[in-house]
Protein backbone atom coordinates (compact mmCIF):
# COMPACT_ATOMS: atom_id res chain seq x y z
CA UNK A 1 0.00 0.00 0.00
CA UNK A 2 2.90 2.31 0.79
CA UNK A 3 4.21 1.83 -2.73
CA UNK A 4 0.86 2.74 -4.28
CA UNK A 5 0.23 5.72 -2.00
CA UNK A 6 3.70 7.08 -2.71
CA UNK A 7 3.31 6.44 -6.43
CA UNK A 8 0.14 8.57 -6.34
CA UNK A 9 1.50 11.35 -4.11
CA UNK A 10 4.99 11.56 -5.50
CA UNK A 11 4.19 14.04 -8.26
CA UNK A 12 2.52 16.69 -6.05
CA UNK A 13 5.06 16.16 -3.28
CA UNK A 14 8.02 16.43 -5.63
CA UNK A 15 6.57 19.53 -7.31
CA UNK A 16 6.28 21.38 -4.02
CA UNK A 17 9.73 20.32 -2.86
CA UNK A 18 11.17 21.30 -6.23
CA UNK A 19 9.87 24.83 -5.73
CA UNK A 20 10.95 24.95 -2.09
CA UNK A 21 14.56 23.90 -2.68
CA UNK A 22 15.66 26.91 -4.77
CA UNK A 23 13.63 29.27 -2.57
CA UNK A 24 15.46 27.98 0.50
CA UNK A 25 18.77 28.32 -1.33
CA UNK A 26 18.08 31.92 -2.33
CA UNK A 27 17.16 32.78 1.28
CA UNK A 28 20.28 31.06 2.57
CA UNK A 29 22.64 33.22 0.51
CA UNK A 30 20.76 36.48 0.90
CA UNK A 31 20.42 36.69 4.68
CA UNK A 32 20.63 40.32 5.84
CA UNK A 33 23.25 41.34 8.39
CA UNK A 34 22.14 44.19 10.66
CA UNK A 35 21.80 47.83 9.72
CA UNK A 36 19.25 49.07 7.26
CA UNK A 37 16.60 46.63 6.02
CA UNK A 38 14.83 49.15 3.82
CA UNK A 39 15.43 47.37 0.51
CA UNK A 40 14.53 43.95 1.94
CA UNK A 41 10.88 44.78 2.39
CA UNK A 42 9.79 42.73 -0.60
CA UNK A 43 11.80 39.61 0.25
CA UNK A 44 10.64 39.84 3.86
CA UNK A 45 7.01 40.11 2.84
CA UNK A 46 7.29 37.37 0.23
CA UNK A 47 8.91 34.98 2.70
CA UNK A 48 6.33 35.70 5.38
CA UNK A 49 3.49 35.29 2.91
CA UNK A 50 4.95 32.06 1.50
CA UNK A 51 5.04 30.45 4.95
CA UNK A 52 1.44 31.48 5.54
CA UNK A 53 0.19 30.24 2.17
CA UNK A 54 2.08 26.94 1.98
CA UNK A 55 -0.19 24.99 4.39
CA UNK A 56 -3.29 26.09 2.46
CA UNK A 57 -1.65 25.00 -0.80
CA UNK A 58 -0.80 21.62 0.70
CA UNK A 59 -4.32 21.10 1.96
CA UNK A 60 -5.90 22.09 -1.33
CA UNK A 61 -3.49 20.44 -3.77
CA UNK A 62 -2.29 17.43 -1.80
CA UNK A 63 -5.05 16.56 0.65
CA UNK A 64 -8.15 17.04 -1.50
CA UNK A 65 -7.12 15.34 -4.79
CA UNK A 66 -5.52 12.45 -2.94
CA UNK A 67 -9.06 11.35 -2.04
CA UNK A 68 -11.34 12.88 -4.68
CA UNK A 69 -9.29 11.61 -7.61
CA UNK A 70 -9.97 8.05 -6.44
CA UNK A 71 -13.65 8.70 -5.84
CA UNK A 72 -14.16 10.51 -9.14
CA UNK A 73 -12.47 7.90 -11.31
CA UNK A 74 -13.99 5.06 -9.28
CA UNK A 75 -10.59 3.58 -8.50
CA UNK A 76 -11.57 3.32 -4.83
CA UNK A 77 -13.65 0.38 -6.05
CA UNK A 78 -10.46 -1.17 -7.36
CA UNK A 79 -8.14 -0.50 -4.45
CA UNK A 80 -10.64 -1.31 -1.69
CA UNK A 81 -11.16 -4.71 -3.26
CA UNK A 82 -7.56 -5.74 -3.05
CA UNK A 83 -6.69 -7.51 0.19
CA UNK A 84 -6.26 -4.21 2.04
CA UNK A 85 -8.93 -2.59 4.20
CA UNK A 86 -9.99 0.94 3.43
CA UNK A 87 -8.86 1.95 6.91
CA UNK A 88 -5.35 0.85 6.05
CA UNK A 89 -5.63 2.61 2.68
CA UNK A 90 -6.43 5.93 4.37
CA UNK A 91 -3.91 5.40 7.16
CA UNK A 92 -1.08 4.92 4.67
CA UNK A 93 -2.13 7.94 2.60
CA UNK A 94 -2.28 10.13 5.71
CA UNK A 95 0.92 8.56 7.00
CA UNK A 96 2.81 9.66 3.90
CA UNK A 97 1.05 12.94 3.13
CA UNK A 98 0.86 14.51 6.58
CA UNK A 99 4.57 14.14 7.47
CA UNK A 100 5.55 15.35 3.99
CA UNK A 101 3.36 18.42 4.47
CA UNK A 102 4.73 19.05 7.97
CA UNK A 103 8.33 18.76 6.82
CA UNK A 104 7.74 21.13 3.89
CA UNK A 105 6.09 23.77 6.08
CA UNK A 106 8.62 23.27 8.89
CA UNK A 107 11.63 23.65 6.62
CA UNK A 108 10.24 26.74 4.91
CA UNK A 109 9.23 28.35 8.22
CA UNK A 110 12.55 27.67 9.89
CA UNK A 111 14.56 28.96 6.92
CA UNK A 112 12.40 32.07 6.54
CA UNK A 113 12.59 32.61 10.31
CA UNK A 114 16.36 32.27 10.26
CA UNK A 115 16.63 34.60 7.27
CA UNK A 116 14.40 37.22 8.89
CA UNK A 117 15.89 36.87 12.37
CA UNK A 118 17.94 40.12 12.21
CA UNK A 119 14.83 42.00 11.07
CA UNK A 120 12.59 40.37 13.66
CA UNK A 121 15.10 41.04 16.42
CA UNK A 122 15.23 44.70 15.46
CA UNK A 123 11.44 44.86 15.28
CA UNK A 124 11.16 43.29 18.73
CA UNK A 125 13.40 45.99 20.20
CA UNK A 126 11.94 48.97 18.42
CA UNK A 127 8.50 49.29 16.89
CA UNK A 128 9.59 52.27 14.80
CA UNK A 129 11.45 50.19 12.23
CA UNK A 130 8.39 49.55 10.12
CA UNK A 131 8.49 45.82 10.76
CA UNK A 132 6.11 44.08 13.09
CA UNK A 133 7.20 42.23 16.18
CA UNK A 134 7.49 38.44 16.13
CA UNK A 135 4.58 37.84 18.47
CA UNK A 136 2.07 39.89 16.46
CA UNK A 137 -0.37 37.77 14.42
CA UNK A 138 0.93 38.42 10.90
CA UNK A 139 4.50 37.52 11.69
CA UNK A 140 3.71 34.89 14.33
CA UNK A 141 1.97 32.61 11.80
CA UNK A 142 5.04 32.68 9.56
CA UNK A 143 7.71 31.90 12.12
CA UNK A 144 8.83 29.10 14.38
CA UNK A 145 7.07 25.76 14.66
CA UNK A 146 3.40 26.77 14.39
CA UNK A 147 3.40 26.35 10.56
CA UNK A 148 4.17 22.64 11.08
CA UNK A 149 0.85 22.37 12.91
CA UNK A 150 -0.90 24.45 10.27
CA UNK A 151 0.36 22.14 7.50
CA UNK A 152 -0.80 19.00 9.31
CA UNK A 153 -4.17 20.59 9.95
CA UNK A 154 -4.64 21.91 6.40
CA UNK A 155 -3.70 18.54 4.91
CA UNK A 156 -6.07 16.55 7.10
CA UNK A 157 -8.76 19.19 6.58
CA UNK A 158 -8.43 18.71 2.81
CA UNK A 159 -8.78 14.95 3.24
CA UNK A 160 -11.80 15.28 5.54
CA UNK A 161 -13.62 17.67 3.24
CA UNK A 162 -12.77 15.52 0.23
CA UNK A 163 -14.32 12.52 1.97
CA UNK A 164 -17.38 14.59 2.77
CA UNK A 165 -17.91 16.28 -0.61
CA UNK A 166 -16.32 13.68 -2.92
CA UNK A 167 -15.72 16.18 -5.73
CA UNK A 168 -12.41 17.89 -6.37
CA UNK A 169 -13.27 21.49 -7.14
CA UNK A 170 -15.95 22.08 -4.46
CA UNK A 171 -13.77 20.29 -1.90
CA UNK A 172 -10.79 22.49 -2.81
CA UNK A 173 -12.87 25.67 -2.46
CA UNK A 174 -14.41 24.62 0.85
CA UNK A 175 -11.03 23.54 2.22
CA UNK A 176 -9.56 26.93 1.40
CA UNK A 177 -12.48 28.82 2.94
CA UNK A 178 -12.49 26.74 6.14
CA UNK A 179 -8.72 26.98 6.49
CA UNK A 180 -8.73 30.76 6.09
CA UNK A 181 -11.63 31.05 8.57
CA UNK A 182 -9.70 29.02 11.14
CA UNK A 183 -6.58 31.10 10.51
CA UNK A 184 -8.59 34.24 11.22
CA UNK A 185 -10.47 32.84 14.20
CA UNK A 186 -7.45 31.49 16.03
CA UNK A 187 -5.30 34.66 16.34
CA UNK A 188 -8.27 36.80 17.33
CA UNK A 189 -10.43 34.34 19.24
CA UNK A 190 -8.09 31.73 20.73
CA UNK A 191 -4.44 32.75 20.86
CA UNK A 192 -4.94 35.83 23.09
CA UNK A 193 -6.44 33.59 25.77
CA UNK A 194 -4.06 30.65 25.55
CA UNK A 195 -1.78 32.38 28.04
CA UNK A 196 -3.29 35.10 30.23
CA UNK A 197 -2.08 38.43 28.83
CA UNK A 198 -0.05 40.84 30.93
CA UNK A 199 -2.45 43.51 32.22
CA UNK A 200 -1.38 46.94 33.33
CA UNK A 201 -3.23 49.94 34.63
CA UNK A 202 -1.48 53.11 33.54
CA UNK A 203 -2.09 56.51 35.09
CA UNK A 204 -3.15 59.02 32.49
CA UNK A 205 -0.74 61.91 32.37
CA UNK A 206 0.40 64.08 29.53
CA UNK A 207 3.67 62.15 29.77
CA UNK A 208 2.25 58.61 29.59
CA UNK A 209 -0.08 59.43 26.73
CA UNK A 210 1.46 58.67 23.39
CA UNK A 211 -1.33 59.46 21.04
CA UNK A 212 -4.71 61.13 21.01
CA UNK A 213 -7.42 60.45 18.49
CA UNK A 214 -9.74 63.42 18.15
CA UNK A 215 -12.83 64.57 16.31
CA UNK A 216 -13.28 68.11 15.13
CA UNK A 217 -15.46 70.13 17.53
CA UNK A 218 -16.88 73.64 17.70
CA UNK A 219 -14.17 75.17 19.86
CA UNK A 220 -11.27 72.92 18.92
CA UNK A 221 -10.78 69.18 18.63
CA UNK A 222 -12.61 66.82 21.00
CA UNK A 223 -10.49 63.83 22.08
CA UNK A 224 -12.22 60.50 21.43
CA UNK A 225 -9.59 58.09 22.68
CA UNK A 226 -6.05 58.10 23.91
CA UNK A 227 -3.24 55.57 23.70
CA UNK A 228 -0.43 55.14 26.15
CA UNK A 229 3.07 53.98 25.26
CA UNK A 230 3.27 50.23 24.58
CA UNK A 231 6.14 47.93 25.48
CA UNK A 232 8.46 47.16 22.58
CA UNK A 233 7.95 43.88 20.76
CA UNK A 234 4.62 43.12 22.41
CA UNK A 235 1.36 42.01 20.85
CA UNK A 236 -1.01 44.62 22.29
CA UNK A 237 -4.52 43.31 22.85
CA UNK A 238 -6.02 46.33 24.60
CA UNK A 239 -5.00 49.92 25.04
CA UNK A 240 -8.20 51.52 26.30
CA UNK A 241 -9.47 54.02 28.82
CA UNK A 242 -11.55 52.61 31.68
CA UNK A 243 -13.50 54.46 34.33
CA UNK A 244 -13.26 53.97 38.10
CA UNK A 245 -15.42 50.84 37.85
CA UNK A 246 -13.23 49.32 35.18
CA UNK A 247 -15.76 49.87 32.38
CA UNK A 248 -14.30 50.74 29.01
CA UNK A 249 -15.07 54.34 28.13
CA UNK A 250 -15.35 55.23 24.51
CA UNK A 251 -15.52 58.01 23.55
CA UNK A 252 -13.81 59.85 26.40
CA UNK A 253 -16.10 61.70 28.84
CA UNK A 254 -17.12 65.30 28.32
CA UNK A 255 -14.63 66.36 31.01
CA UNK A 256 -11.91 66.35 28.39
CA UNK A 257 -14.06 67.98 25.74
CA UNK A 258 -12.11 71.22 25.68
CA UNK A 259 -8.64 69.82 26.13
CA UNK A 260 -7.20 70.33 22.73
CA UNK A 261 -6.36 73.59 21.01
CA UNK A 262 -7.92 74.15 17.61
CA UNK A 263 -6.09 72.34 14.89
CA UNK A 264 -3.67 74.58 13.15
CA UNK A 265 -0.30 74.42 11.55
CA UNK A 266 1.24 76.43 14.39
CA UNK A 267 3.07 74.56 17.13
CA UNK A 268 1.04 74.60 20.39
CA UNK A 269 1.81 77.41 22.73
CA UNK A 270 2.85 76.89 26.37
CA UNK A 271 -0.68 77.85 27.43
CA UNK A 272 -2.07 75.13 25.22
CA UNK A 273 0.26 72.57 26.77
CA UNK A 274 -0.75 73.63 30.26
CA UNK A 275 -4.35 73.24 29.29
CA UNK A 276 -3.77 69.74 28.01
CA UNK A 277 -1.88 68.77 31.14
CA UNK A 278 -4.59 70.14 33.44
CA UNK A 279 -7.21 68.44 31.39
CA UNK A 280 -5.72 64.97 31.71
CA UNK A 281 -5.05 65.57 35.40
CA UNK A 282 -8.76 66.15 35.67
CA UNK A 283 -9.43 62.88 33.89
CA UNK A 284 -7.11 61.09 36.29
CA UNK A 285 -8.83 62.75 39.20
CA UNK A 286 -12.19 61.36 38.03
CA UNK A 287 -10.75 57.86 38.37
CA UNK A 288 -10.01 57.16 34.74
CA UNK A 289 -7.10 54.87 34.01
CA UNK A 290 -5.64 53.41 30.87
CA UNK A 291 -5.97 49.62 30.64
CA UNK A 292 -3.17 47.91 28.78
CA UNK A 293 -3.23 44.19 27.94
CA UNK A 294 -0.53 42.53 25.88
CA UNK A 295 1.47 39.40 25.16
CA UNK A 296 5.07 40.39 25.73
CA UNK A 297 7.88 39.40 23.41
CA UNK A 298 8.94 36.61 25.79
CA UNK A 299 5.67 34.77 25.10
CA UNK A 300 6.66 34.01 21.50
CA UNK A 301 7.94 30.49 22.07
CA UNK A 302 5.35 29.44 24.68
CA UNK A 303 2.63 30.62 22.29
CA UNK A 304 4.29 28.82 19.36
CA UNK A 305 4.29 25.53 21.27
CA UNK A 306 0.69 26.07 22.35
CA UNK A 307 -0.31 26.80 18.76
CA UNK A 308 1.49 23.72 17.45
CA UNK A 309 -0.23 21.59 20.07
CA UNK A 310 -3.63 23.12 19.30
CA UNK A 311 -3.37 22.43 15.58
CA UNK A 312 -2.02 18.93 16.10
CA UNK A 313 -4.98 18.19 18.36
CA UNK A 314 -7.36 19.61 15.75
CA UNK A 315 -5.65 17.45 13.10
CA UNK A 316 -6.03 14.38 15.28
CA UNK A 317 -9.74 15.11 15.76
CA UNK A 318 -10.24 15.56 12.02
CA UNK A 319 -8.35 12.33 11.35
CA UNK A 320 -10.68 10.52 13.69
CA UNK A 321 -13.67 12.00 11.83
CA UNK A 322 -12.16 10.85 8.52
CA UNK A 323 -11.87 7.25 9.70
CA UNK A 324 -15.39 7.27 11.08
CA UNK A 325 -16.81 8.69 7.87
CA UNK A 326 -14.76 6.32 5.72
CA UNK A 327 -16.88 3.35 6.78
CA UNK A 328 -19.93 4.90 5.13
CA UNK A 329 -18.16 5.82 1.92
CA UNK A 330 -18.91 3.80 -1.17
Amino acid sequence: MTWLAWRQLRFPVMSVYAVLAPAVLVLAISRPVGGDFGDLGFAYLAGTLAVQLLPAVLGVFWGVPMITRELETGTHNLVWNQSVTRTRWLAVKLGIGAPAAMVAAGVLSLVVGWWADPIDTAADLDAERGFQARVTPLVFAARGIAPIGYAAFAFVLGVAIAILLRRTVPAMAVTLVVYVAVQLAVPYGVRPHVLPPVEESVTLTARSIEGIQADEGVSGDVPVSVRVAEPAGAWVLANETVDANGVVTHPLPAAVGDCLPPASADPPTLADLDRIRACFARLDGLGYRQHLAYQPVTRFWPLQWAELALFLVLSALLTWCCFRRLRHLS
Binding site: N77, S83, V84
Partner: protein
Amino acid sequence: MSVLRARGLGKKYKRRWALTGCTLDVPAGRVTGLVGPNGAGKSTLLGLAAGMLAPSSGTIEVCGGVPGSGPAQLAKVGFVAQNTPVYPNLTVEEHLRLGARLNPGWDDELARGRVARLGLDPALAAGKLSGGQRAQLALTLGIAKRPELLLLDEPVASLDPLARREFLGDLMAAVAEHGLSVVMSSHLVADLERVCDHLVVLVDSRVRIAGDVDELLATHRRLTGPRRDLDTLPADQRVVAASHTERQTTALVRTEAPILDPAWDVGEPGLEDLILAYLTASGVERPALGVVR
Protein backbone atom coordinates in the same frame (compact mmCIF):
# COMPACT_ATOMS: atom_id res chain seq x y z
CA MET B 1 -22.81 -25.06 0.08
CA SER B 2 -23.47 -21.40 -0.54
CA VAL B 3 -20.82 -18.88 -1.32
CA LEU B 4 -23.22 -16.01 -0.68
CA ARG B 5 -26.04 -16.14 1.82
CA ALA B 6 -28.39 -13.20 2.35
CA ARG B 7 -31.22 -13.05 4.87
CA GLY B 8 -33.73 -10.23 4.70
CA LEU B 9 -31.01 -8.07 3.21
CA GLY B 10 -31.90 -4.47 2.45
CA LYS B 11 -30.11 -1.29 1.54
CA LYS B 12 -31.57 2.18 1.81
CA TYR B 13 -30.11 5.28 0.19
CA LYS B 14 -31.41 8.36 1.92
CA ARG B 15 -35.11 7.72 1.35
CA ARG B 16 -35.16 5.09 -1.37
CA TRP B 17 -34.75 1.37 -0.78
CA ALA B 18 -32.43 0.04 -3.48
CA LEU B 19 -32.83 -3.50 -2.22
CA THR B 20 -35.41 -4.95 0.16
CA GLY B 21 -36.05 -8.26 1.83
CA CYS B 22 -33.46 -10.09 -0.19
CA THR B 23 -33.11 -13.69 0.92
CA LEU B 24 -30.78 -15.58 -1.31
CA ASP B 25 -28.36 -18.48 -1.45
CA VAL B 26 -25.84 -18.52 -4.23
CA PRO B 27 -24.24 -21.96 -4.60
CA ALA B 28 -20.46 -22.31 -4.72
CA GLY B 29 -18.65 -23.31 -7.87
CA ARG B 30 -21.24 -21.82 -10.20
CA VAL B 31 -21.45 -18.90 -12.53
CA THR B 32 -24.46 -16.96 -11.35
CA GLY B 33 -26.14 -14.39 -13.52
CA LEU B 34 -27.79 -11.43 -11.87
CA VAL B 35 -30.43 -9.98 -14.16
CA GLY B 36 -32.79 -7.09 -13.87
CA PRO B 37 -33.68 -3.74 -15.37
CA ASN B 38 -31.66 -0.64 -14.53
CA GLY B 39 -32.10 0.41 -10.94
CA ALA B 40 -33.35 -2.98 -9.83
CA GLY B 41 -30.61 -3.26 -7.21
CA LYS B 42 -28.02 -5.39 -9.02
CA SER B 43 -25.11 -3.11 -8.28
CA THR B 44 -26.33 -2.63 -4.74
CA LEU B 45 -26.42 -6.38 -4.13
CA LEU B 46 -22.92 -6.80 -5.55
CA GLY B 47 -21.68 -3.82 -3.56
CA LEU B 48 -23.09 -5.34 -0.38
CA ALA B 49 -21.46 -8.68 -1.20
CA ALA B 50 -18.08 -7.01 -1.80
CA GLY B 51 -18.35 -5.01 1.41
CA MET B 52 -18.33 -1.71 -0.47
CA LEU B 53 -21.72 -0.96 1.08
CA ALA B 54 -23.04 -1.69 4.54
CA PRO B 55 -26.52 -3.25 4.73
CA SER B 56 -29.38 -1.16 6.15
CA SER B 57 -31.25 -4.26 7.23
CA GLY B 58 -30.76 -8.00 7.31
CA THR B 59 -27.50 -9.89 7.01
CA ILE B 60 -25.19 -11.04 4.28
CA GLU B 61 -22.45 -13.62 4.52
CA VAL B 62 -19.93 -14.19 1.76
CA CYS B 63 -17.48 -17.10 1.77
CA GLY B 64 -18.41 -17.62 5.42
CA GLY B 65 -17.59 -14.11 6.58
CA VAL B 66 -18.97 -10.59 6.80
CA PRO B 67 -18.12 -8.73 3.58
CA GLY B 68 -15.28 -6.26 3.86
CA SER B 69 -14.60 -7.20 7.48
CA GLY B 70 -10.85 -7.50 7.13
CA PRO B 71 -7.90 -8.31 4.87
CA ALA B 72 -8.58 -12.06 5.03
CA GLN B 73 -12.18 -11.56 3.92
CA LEU B 74 -11.16 -9.12 1.18
CA ALA B 75 -8.66 -11.68 -0.11
CA LYS B 76 -11.45 -14.19 -0.59
CA VAL B 77 -13.63 -11.95 -2.73
CA GLY B 78 -12.74 -10.27 -5.99
CA PHE B 79 -14.87 -7.41 -7.23
CA VAL B 80 -14.74 -5.74 -10.61
CA ALA B 81 -16.96 -2.68 -10.36
CA GLN B 82 -19.12 -1.20 -13.07
CA ASN B 83 -17.08 0.64 -15.73
CA THR B 84 -14.09 -1.52 -14.69
CA PRO B 85 -12.07 1.24 -13.01
CA VAL B 86 -8.29 1.30 -13.35
CA TYR B 87 -5.78 4.03 -12.46
CA PRO B 88 -5.40 6.09 -15.64
CA ASN B 89 -1.91 7.30 -14.70
CA LEU B 90 -0.52 3.91 -13.78
CA THR B 91 0.86 1.62 -16.43
CA VAL B 92 -0.31 -1.94 -16.95
CA GLU B 93 2.92 -3.11 -15.32
CA GLU B 94 2.26 -0.88 -12.30
CA HIS B 95 -1.22 -2.32 -11.97
CA LEU B 96 0.28 -5.78 -11.74
CA ARG B 97 2.74 -4.53 -9.15
CA LEU B 98 -0.18 -2.98 -7.25
CA GLY B 99 -1.95 -6.34 -7.30
CA ALA B 100 1.17 -8.16 -6.16
CA ARG B 101 1.77 -5.78 -3.28
CA LEU B 102 -1.78 -5.59 -2.04
CA ASN B 103 -2.74 -9.27 -2.24
CA PRO B 104 -1.03 -12.02 -0.27
CA GLY B 105 -2.44 -14.69 -2.57
CA TRP B 106 -1.38 -12.93 -5.78
CA ASP B 107 -0.64 -15.23 -8.69
CA ASP B 108 1.95 -13.28 -10.61
CA GLU B 109 2.49 -15.95 -13.22
CA LEU B 110 -1.21 -16.01 -14.00
CA ALA B 111 -1.42 -12.21 -14.18
CA ARG B 112 1.61 -11.83 -16.45
CA GLY B 113 0.49 -14.73 -18.59
CA ARG B 114 -2.91 -13.14 -19.10
CA VAL B 115 -1.51 -9.72 -19.87
CA ALA B 116 0.88 -11.23 -22.42
CA ARG B 117 -1.86 -13.34 -23.98
CA LEU B 118 -4.19 -10.34 -24.22
CA GLY B 119 -1.46 -8.38 -25.91
CA LEU B 120 -1.52 -5.51 -23.40
CA ASP B 121 1.62 -3.39 -23.53
CA PRO B 122 2.98 -3.41 -19.95
CA ALA B 123 4.50 0.05 -20.39
CA LEU B 124 1.25 1.65 -21.54
CA ALA B 125 -0.67 3.88 -19.12
CA ALA B 126 -4.02 2.29 -18.31
CA GLY B 127 -5.77 5.52 -19.29
CA LYS B 128 -4.71 4.88 -22.88
CA LEU B 129 -6.21 1.41 -23.08
CA SER B 130 -9.44 0.77 -24.96
CA GLY B 131 -12.60 -0.01 -23.00
CA GLY B 132 -12.19 -3.70 -23.66
CA GLN B 133 -8.55 -3.74 -22.65
CA ARG B 134 -9.37 -1.84 -19.48
CA ALA B 135 -12.04 -4.38 -18.62
CA GLN B 136 -9.55 -7.17 -19.27
CA LEU B 137 -6.97 -5.49 -17.03
CA ALA B 138 -9.51 -5.07 -14.24
CA LEU B 139 -10.58 -8.68 -14.65
CA THR B 140 -6.94 -9.78 -14.56
CA LEU B 141 -6.52 -8.03 -11.22
CA GLY B 142 -9.70 -9.70 -10.01
CA ILE B 143 -8.68 -13.19 -11.09
CA ALA B 144 -4.98 -13.03 -10.18
CA LYS B 145 -5.71 -12.27 -6.55
CA ARG B 146 -7.12 -15.81 -6.58
CA PRO B 147 -10.44 -15.15 -4.83
CA GLU B 148 -12.97 -17.81 -3.93
CA LEU B 149 -15.74 -15.63 -5.31
CA LEU B 150 -15.49 -13.16 -8.14
CA LEU B 151 -18.15 -10.46 -8.36
CA LEU B 152 -18.53 -8.71 -11.70
CA ASP B 153 -20.80 -5.72 -12.10
CA GLU B 154 -21.79 -5.31 -15.76
CA PRO B 155 -18.30 -6.26 -16.87
CA VAL B 156 -19.16 -6.32 -20.56
CA ALA B 157 -21.48 -3.32 -20.73
CA SER B 158 -18.94 -1.09 -22.43
CA LEU B 159 -17.55 -3.69 -24.82
CA ASP B 160 -18.37 -4.31 -28.45
CA PRO B 161 -19.83 -7.75 -29.31
CA LEU B 162 -16.49 -9.25 -30.30
CA ALA B 163 -14.65 -8.00 -27.22
CA ARG B 164 -17.60 -9.18 -25.14
CA ARG B 165 -17.40 -12.67 -26.56
CA GLU B 166 -13.64 -12.78 -25.91
CA PHE B 167 -14.03 -11.43 -22.39
CA LEU B 168 -16.68 -13.98 -21.47
CA GLY B 169 -14.78 -16.83 -23.08
CA ASP B 170 -11.75 -15.81 -21.15
CA LEU B 171 -13.73 -15.59 -17.94
CA MET B 172 -15.11 -19.09 -18.50
CA ALA B 173 -11.62 -20.44 -19.07
CA ALA B 174 -10.46 -18.87 -15.80
CA VAL B 175 -13.47 -20.27 -13.96
CA ALA B 176 -12.82 -23.74 -15.30
CA GLU B 177 -9.13 -23.55 -14.50
CA HIS B 178 -9.30 -22.16 -10.97
CA GLY B 179 -12.70 -23.41 -9.85
CA LEU B 180 -13.88 -20.08 -8.53
CA SER B 181 -17.47 -19.02 -8.11
CA VAL B 182 -18.69 -16.05 -10.10
CA VAL B 183 -21.63 -13.73 -9.66
CA MET B 184 -22.03 -11.38 -12.58
CA SER B 185 -24.71 -8.86 -13.34
CA SER B 186 -25.74 -7.95 -16.83
CA HIS B 187 -28.76 -6.90 -18.71
CA LEU B 188 -27.60 -8.68 -21.80
CA VAL B 189 -29.54 -11.88 -21.48
CA ALA B 190 -27.86 -13.58 -24.41
CA ASP B 191 -24.49 -13.23 -22.69
CA LEU B 192 -25.77 -14.71 -19.49
CA GLU B 193 -27.39 -17.56 -21.38
CA ARG B 194 -24.01 -18.50 -22.70
CA VAL B 195 -22.08 -18.51 -19.45
CA CYS B 196 -24.42 -18.82 -16.48
CA ASP B 197 -25.64 -21.97 -14.81
CA HIS B 198 -27.47 -20.20 -12.00
CA LEU B 199 -29.78 -17.24 -12.24
CA VAL B 200 -31.09 -14.50 -9.95
CA VAL B 201 -33.71 -12.12 -11.29
CA LEU B 202 -34.03 -8.82 -9.46
CA VAL B 203 -36.98 -6.56 -10.13
CA ASP B 204 -37.97 -3.45 -8.19
CA SER B 205 -35.38 -3.98 -5.47
CA ARG B 206 -36.60 -7.53 -4.83
CA VAL B 207 -35.52 -11.00 -5.78
CA ARG B 208 -38.11 -12.17 -8.27
CA ILE B 209 -36.78 -15.66 -8.81
CA ALA B 210 -33.53 -17.52 -8.21
CA GLY B 211 -32.45 -21.00 -9.23
CA ASP B 212 -30.32 -23.23 -11.39
CA VAL B 213 -30.79 -22.53 -15.05
CA ASP B 214 -31.47 -26.19 -15.90
CA GLU B 215 -34.02 -26.48 -13.14
CA LEU B 216 -35.71 -23.24 -14.12
CA LEU B 217 -35.99 -24.37 -17.70
CA ALA B 218 -37.29 -27.78 -16.64
CA THR B 219 -40.03 -26.35 -14.44
CA HIS B 220 -41.38 -23.73 -16.82
CA ARG B 221 -43.66 -24.42 -19.76
CA ARG B 222 -45.13 -22.21 -22.40
CA LEU B 223 -48.76 -23.00 -23.05
CA THR B 224 -50.56 -21.97 -26.19
CA GLY B 225 -54.18 -22.73 -26.83
CA PRO B 226 -57.66 -21.40 -27.49
CA ARG B 227 -58.56 -18.36 -25.46
CA ARG B 228 -59.56 -19.24 -21.93
CA ASP B 229 -59.57 -17.99 -18.37
CA LEU B 230 -56.30 -18.89 -16.64
CA ASP B 231 -57.99 -19.13 -13.24
CA THR B 232 -59.16 -22.58 -14.28
CA LEU B 233 -55.62 -24.00 -14.38
CA PRO B 234 -54.72 -26.77 -11.92
CA ALA B 235 -53.41 -25.53 -8.56
CA ASP B 236 -49.85 -26.73 -9.21
CA GLN B 237 -49.49 -24.57 -12.32
CA ARG B 238 -48.50 -21.05 -11.37
CA VAL B 239 -48.91 -18.44 -14.10
CA VAL B 240 -45.85 -16.26 -14.48
CA ALA B 241 -47.04 -14.25 -17.46
CA ALA B 242 -49.89 -14.46 -19.89
CA SER B 243 -51.13 -12.73 -22.97
CA HIS B 244 -54.38 -13.03 -24.82
CA THR B 245 -55.46 -12.37 -28.36
CA GLU B 246 -59.07 -12.66 -29.47
CA ARG B 247 -58.85 -16.36 -30.06
CA GLN B 248 -55.68 -17.45 -28.39
CA THR B 249 -54.08 -17.47 -24.95
CA THR B 250 -50.36 -17.79 -24.37
CA ALA B 251 -49.07 -18.35 -20.86
CA LEU B 252 -45.82 -19.12 -19.16
CA VAL B 253 -46.44 -21.32 -16.15
CA ARG B 254 -44.25 -22.78 -13.51
CA THR B 255 -45.02 -26.35 -12.59
CA GLU B 256 -43.29 -29.46 -11.36
CA ALA B 257 -45.80 -31.84 -12.94
CA PRO B 258 -46.35 -32.57 -16.62
CA ILE B 259 -49.10 -30.66 -18.44
CA LEU B 260 -51.94 -33.08 -19.10
CA ASP B 261 -54.61 -30.80 -20.56
CA PRO B 262 -54.79 -31.73 -24.30
CA ALA B 263 -56.15 -28.27 -25.20
CA TRP B 264 -52.70 -26.76 -24.62
CA ASP B 265 -49.93 -26.78 -27.08
CA VAL B 266 -46.97 -27.17 -24.69
CA GLY B 267 -43.58 -25.65 -25.47
CA GLU B 268 -40.28 -25.26 -23.61
CA PRO B 269 -39.32 -21.62 -23.10
CA GLY B 270 -35.79 -20.40 -23.70
CA LEU B 271 -33.90 -18.69 -20.89
CA GLU B 272 -34.47 -15.35 -22.48
CA ASP B 273 -38.26 -15.89 -22.74
CA LEU B 274 -38.27 -16.96 -19.15
CA ILE B 275 -36.37 -13.92 -17.91
CA LEU B 276 -38.48 -11.57 -19.98
CA ALA B 277 -41.64 -13.17 -18.62
CA TYR B 278 -40.50 -12.54 -15.06
CA LEU B 279 -39.50 -8.98 -15.82
CA THR B 280 -42.75 -8.06 -17.58
CA ALA B 281 -44.93 -9.95 -15.13
CA SER B 282 -43.86 -7.71 -12.31
CA GLY B 283 -45.39 -4.63 -13.82
CA VAL B 284 -42.26 -3.36 -15.50
CA GLU B 285 -43.71 -2.12 -18.72
CA ARG B 286 -40.68 -1.94 -20.88
CA PRO B 287 -37.79 -3.83 -19.36
CA ALA B 288 -34.48 -2.23 -20.14
CA LEU B 289 -33.12 -5.37 -21.67
CA GLY B 290 -30.87 -5.44 -24.62
CA VAL B 291 -30.79 -8.58 -26.62
CA VAL B 292 -27.61 -9.11 -28.51
CA ARG B 293 -27.06 -12.04 -30.77
